[in-house]
Symmetry: C2
Subunit: 413 residues, 2 copies
């Protein structure tokens, strides 16, 4: 069978405990003993048995990152930022990088450099693609729980269906109860369930008594204390979608637009609703009527934006501006307008949301709302690693910044 700790110990002429200590670097070991062990590890090409150590330590180094659509850069950027922070190195060598390490003393153990098979402290950051599907979200949560993930980060808008929301909240509480750090990033806080019971299952007092109690092992050595504790509930880093959307539409209104079409995201998701609410709030604040036909729902992708724009123009040719729920859809809107021979922003202004990288150099550059994807993702990563303390109340909100660019202008310019 595979090489085990015992084999390494035998070869290094030490006990398994010593090998374990060297590998985990959490306990003093004589320098030359360490060297012998590392040598043996390397010679034998020993690879730690993750499951075994996870079983013994009651936690695995898995960090799960749930995303709604892995093919969408919005999530790619978020996930990449989280991952960089979790893996402790610079992830994608992206300019203006996420690699803003918190300058903790680099404790790279000597000897393990050339053959890193043994670094036990490495976390495995993995992204799970839910495809926006509630069942898959739940399945992933369960699987990560099963793996005793050390942290789970949920990104992006949540589905608003009450039953599902309740189920997710329950799954998250179970995770937290199991000692897994849970971070929500770009999603509103979990609303504490009203106690809806799983259908067909009798309430079991035993279970409920358990929820909320944290039986988490604390580190026995090296007095990191506050950092080590697992927050009693999920930490949330939310985006102020409502406010951002409102400022965006207000920008359009201040430019003189009155007939504004809105390409909303898929119905039943928090992000969709909040952005739409912000848009409507802006209109309402200025006494501008907002007939229902000026809003069309669709997916958060280019094709949906294209179709929605067609539909909006068909319904109302007087539109002078179209706001899309995200940049990708906005680009679809632009394409549709161009195909109809309309100029942007000459005939119709267009705005998006998110400020993804391609938005700035689209033609024309897209007016949008910048979300601190990189920053929020990195913070989520640090929170997931327990490297940063939770914000007060376990909730922090990120404001979106209006990026007024060439795709919006005064109407009929």
């Amino acid at each position: 069978m595979a090489v085990t700790l015992a084999d390494v110990a035998a070869r290094a002429r030490v006990s398994t405990a010593t090998v374990s200590r060297v590998l985990n670097g959490n306990y003093p070991v004589a320098e030359n003993t360490r060297a012998r062990v590392l040598r043996a590890v390397s010679d034998l090409e020993y690879v730690v048995n993750g499951p075994a150590s996870a079983l013994a330590a009651a936690t695995s180094g898995l960090v799960g990152i749930l995303v709604n659509d892995i093919a969408d850069p919005f999530f790619g950027i978020l996930a990449s930022a989280v991952q960089s922070e979790v893996s402790g190195g610079s992830g994608t060598p992206r300019a203006g990088g996420a690699a803003t390490r918190t300058g903790e003393g680099d404790t790279r153990r000597p000897g393990s450099a050339s053959y890193p098979l043994a670094r036990t402290d490495e976390k495995l950051a993995v992204v799970c693609n839910t495809g926006g599907c509630p069942e898959r979200e739940l399945t992933y949560l369960t699987l990560l729980h099963r793996q005793r993930a050390s942290a789970v980060v949920l990104t992006g808008g949540a589905v608003e269906d009450a039953v599902h929301a309740e189920a997710v909240a329950a799954a998250l509480m179970r995770l937290v109860g199991a000692g897994t750090r849970v971070v929500l990033c770009g999603r509103p806080p979990v609303t504490v369930g009203t106690g809806a019971q799983r259908p067909g299952v009798a309430p079991d007092p035993h279970v409920h008594a358990t929820v909320g109690h944290l039986h988490v092992r604390t580190a026995s050595h090296g007095g990191l204390f506050a950092q080590r504790s697992v927050p009693p509930r999920p930490v949330t880093l939310a985006f102020d979608n409502r406010g951002g959307a409102r400022r965006l539409t207000e920008h359009l209104v201040s430019l003189g637009h009155r007939n504004i079409g809105y390409v909303a995201g898929p119905p039943g998701r928090t992000t969709t609703r909040h952005r739409l609410e912000g848009h409507r709030a802006a209109l309402a604040a200025h006494g501008i009527p907002d007939p229902a036909h000026r809003t069309v729902h669709g997916a958060y992708d280019r094709a949906a934006g294209y179709d929605a724009a067609q539909e909006l123009l068909r319904r109302d040719a007087s539109l002078t501006a179209v706001v899309a729920a995200n940049d990708t859809a906005a680009l679809g809107v632009c394409a549709a307008l161009r195909d109809r021979g309309l100029r942007i922003p000459g005939d119709v202004s267009v705005a998006g949301f998110d400020d993804l990288p391609f938005s700035a150099d689209a033609a024309p550059a897209l007016t949008t709302v910048r979300l601190p994807l990189q920053g929020a993702g990195a913070r989520a990563g640090r929170l997931a690693m327990g490297r940063e303390v939770s914000p007060p109340g376990e909730v922090a909100a990120y404001r979106g910044e209006l990026m007024a660019r060439a795709s919006t202008s005064v109407p009929y310019s």
Copy 2:
């Protein structure tokens, strides 16, 4: 502590062995016993301890998918397809979906429907973002090995550095040796190492003797046999980048273009080289000279395409066409041309590679080479699951299909 198998067993008044058998569904259990167990599982909200079962069973349900850039739809589509197949359901509810299940009898166990916490057969498909960084690729491979992943899928081009290639090959052989199924998707086959030794480490006959032997446990019941075996070496699903690129450039040549610029991908990667070789082969075949200044390297993204196009035009204003190494870069090229007041394809034709979803409805629609990302990804997923037998020789190549669209035309039209 958390609920354990023993707790469930006690509540169901059976032994832990029975509970295990019910959960794994791999051994006959009386119907009403099964029901009692399931009931107990549900009542207790029992969640299998993954590490424990992985330790005992010597394999975890983890399936790792390595991608070079998680924010690039190319990888998103591939990863999504793999994942759908691994999770056995329809993943992203994308049209024309990857959900083409091989019609195996649906063995959804009764009772586990409402509370799926216990389905042990579920695999956890996770994507790992290497950011194109060799070290991270190796790290992930090690981490997945450590977790005793049941399969690993590597997607996209490989780095060509000899040392790194050797290291990756070694890591893959270790994985295969540990019983992990390895699938390469969109990357050339691993070249069997020439035996370069790790620097500074004396050859250890013991280690080498181990490589290649497969000590894989076989299912003891339920006669799946051929399916269960782990191939002795990685399975490869390669894309014919060279051929595709060649046909693409030939298309341009047949249109009458002679001065063709090429925006290549990052140097030192197989995909970059193969596509460039195909391009050059086409030119050579038609006796068209290809001065070095007509090729510029850059990342596989829009910004790089933009910059590269600027540079190409600066170097040679006589270009009538620009081929980019992928669609994303091609869009950057288009933007750059437009910004210089050039029309597409009137003044300059532009072509990409991959045929990502946005390419068809770009303005103008992009001529490109379609790669069967969905299909290859799905097949990789099935191979990873052992649900499909490997192609002869463990290698299959996918041809790219030329998609001639509006962005290319006769020069000076």
